[in-house]
């Protein structure tokens, strides 16, 4: 049973990756740099009372552009390795570097 559970956890981990949560509060990201593995899910939570945005300023990256209402949680899956800078287009003081390894 234990083995089954371990296997299932492992498979889940392989299939869906892990969730890494970043909080946006007081117009700042809770981390400046985040390290991920390909397939991991980044979850951004807007804990401010203003609208935020997420978009990559690094050209040619996999990251789209997202609008986030106050309180909204935004999941972003990173499928490929690489490094890119993400900003809030509205408040560009908000910057985070996403590093994705294999």
């Amino acid at each position: 049973m234990k083995k089954m559970l371990l296997l299932s956890t492992l498979l889940t981990g392989l299939a869906f990756g892990e969730d890494v949560v970043i909080i946006q509060k007081d117009k700042q990201f809770s981390k400046q740099v985040v390290h991920l593995k390909a397939g991991d899910k980044l979850v951004f939570k807007n804990a401010d009372d203003v609208v935020h945005n997420l978009y990559s300023v690094s050209p040619g990256t996999q990251f789209g552009s997202y609008t986030q209402q106050p309180g909204q949680t935004t999941p972003v899956t990173v499928s490929k390795e690489g490094e890119f800078e993400v900003e809030c287009a509205i408040h560009p003081r908000m910057k985070i570097t996403v590093k994705v390894s294999k």
Binding site: K27, V50, V51, R93
Partner: protein, 346 residues
């Protein structure tokens, strides 16, 4: 309400919304108190600067000299200080800037007050630093119309400037990079002094009238001004479409994100009562009109409009209190003396 700006539909929408309490969103359950808000407005203790351009008296003197020297312009007649006039709180009092050939530009001259604390420079944020920004207007054909290919050799042959550069930059000759660094270093010294508002924040209850305190509550609460005009410098250094009629794309020219169409930088509100006209396009003549503009939720509804801009349902008394509050942000800033410019023809 200012009739020249108010489109009928905006006015109708604002009127209906404000007249129908059922349509209003519920008020936030527990708003922070005035005292909690006050904690967010402490003046900083020092001026920030980048590690690769440390301040020095020599650099600031050189930067000031360059800032006031019209010989950097194509006409020999326009200096940085022509538009960023210290006597007018580092702006020019015009609805829109005047540049080369007395031609009117598209946007208003922004103040330089507290620019050291800024992030992206220019109304549309296209410059990443003050060093990056400072050579822009000098070379822009519509602004100073200067030519670095001529300016740098002239500075290198001018004895007075050679000495000023050598003192500021360890013996270096003038070049484009240290020219930009010197001007940026000077501009970082431009900081608004303590205003009655700052005295109140520091604990002097008698520094501002009660009406201004009520205005401060509205600014942070119901009116939501502080959602963008946040902190001691009253800006989030962010970019928002506030619903002006202007079709200038602003930051949307560079950033392919919906919210950035028609978006411009949140300006500081320091010395705001001294700095008419208002908005990036100078379209409002006075602060009453600005408050009224926000009270009716802007002039143009479009997908990029910042959600913070919406009908506010402020009463005339509320509007007056906000005005009283904004007037407490005026400081008696240090007198600026005109520097002696090195002699020598261009």
């Amino acid at each position: 309400m200012s009739k020249h700006h108010l489109s009928f539909w905006c006015w109708l929408g604002a009127t209906l919304l404000c007249a129908s309490p059922a349509l209003l969103p519920p008020l936030a359950a527990a708003e922070p108190s005035r005292e909690a808000w006050r904690l967010k407005y402490q003046r900083p203790s020092a001026i920030p600067y980048p590690a690769d351009n440390l301040p020095s008296k020599e650099k600031e003197l050189l930067g000031k000299t360059l800032f006031f020297d019209p010989r950097l312009s194509g006409s020999g007649w326009i200096s940085c200080a022509t538009c960023h006039n210290p006597g007018l709180s580092w702006s020019d009092g015009l609805p829109k800037s005047l540049g080369e050939g007395m031609k009117t530009l598209d946007r208003r001259t922004p103040t330089l007050l507290n620019i050291a604390f800024g992030d992206r420079m220019m109304w549309d944020g296209r410059a990443k630093s003050l060093e990056d920004q400072s050579l822009g207007p000098i070379q822009s054909s519509g602004e100073m119309n200067g030519d670095l290919q001529k300016i740098i050799p002239w500075l290198q042959t001018n004895l007075g400037y050679r000495q000023l550069f050598a003192r500021a930059f360890s013996g270096q000759l003038p070049n484009a990079e240290n020219l930009a660094m010197a001007i940026a270093a000077f501009e970082r010294t431009i900081v608004s002094a303590v205003s009655p508002f700052d005295e109140w924040i520091a604990g002097n209850e008698a520094a501002i009238p009660d009406e201004a305190k009520r205005g401060f509550d509205l600014f942070n609460g119901t009116a939501g001004c502080a959602k963008c005009h946040s902190g001691w410098n009253f800006t989030d250094d962010g970019f928002h479409d506030i619903g002006l009629k202007s079709t200038d794309p602003g930051r949307g020219r560079f950033i392919p994100v919906e919210s950035q169409r028609f978006a411009f930088k949140t300006p500081t509100l320091r010395n705001i009562a001294r700095r008419a006209h208002y908005m990036h396009d100078g379209s409002e003549d006075n602060l009453e009109a600005v408050i009224d503009f926000y009270n009716h939720g802007g002039d143009v509804a479009r997908p990029s409009l910042a959600p913070e801009v919406k009908p506010l349902c402020l009463t005339p008394e509320d509007e007056h209190a906000l005005l009283a509050f904004l007037q407490t942000l005026t400081s008696r800033d240090p007198q600026v003396s005109y520097p002696e410019l090195p002699e020598g023809k261009r």
